[in-house]
Symmetry: C2
Subunit: 110 residues, 2 copies
Amino acid sequence: MMRSQNLDTTFAALADPTRRAILARLASGEASVMELAKPFSMSQPAISKHLKVLERAGLISRGRDAQRRPCRIEAKPLAAANEWLERYREIWEESFQRLDALLDEMKRKE
Amino acid sequence: MMRSQNLDTTFAALADPTRRAILARLASGEASVMELAKPFSMSQPAISKHLKVLERAGLISRGRDAQRRPCRIEAKPLAAANEWLERYREIWEESFQRLDALLDEMKRKE
């Protein structure tokens, strides 16, 4: 139950390109809100809203330094999301194999 | 851009426990709306709404049989979501290793 709610908030947090880009930036190291806002040409309040969603989903944590409160990525919820997706690996690999077989057959017919 | 929009709709579709349960059910084979509605103790219109979200995200397709219109899972968007998550594997594995090291140290101190 708990687990399922976690997946809800994780997937909802990931359903936004800015939030995914913030995680990509934080994957290379901590950053303050100001540092994060710059490349996105977004206001600090707009970035702060996205950070709150990421923080509630446990995908980032904020440092204690009152001035900067640097953000860092917390990848554990991503591991849980990945684990859920992995159950379907067999299905997508089969469908890619069917596609490959179809393309091969088309080439042979040409 | 296209790719990013796809990830938006995929992750948004996965952010719901009923939709994830529908995919889990369809992983073991096609099913009609009626067959899907039964175990969820949900009305058919409620299930149909969820199916529309999944269909728009490309996560299921509907058969042509006018009566049953069986649903089948389409796992390709899950492969794309998995690919996005895999970029962070190094980060979550490192954090699990740090946790293991910490637990080992606590045990030694006891």
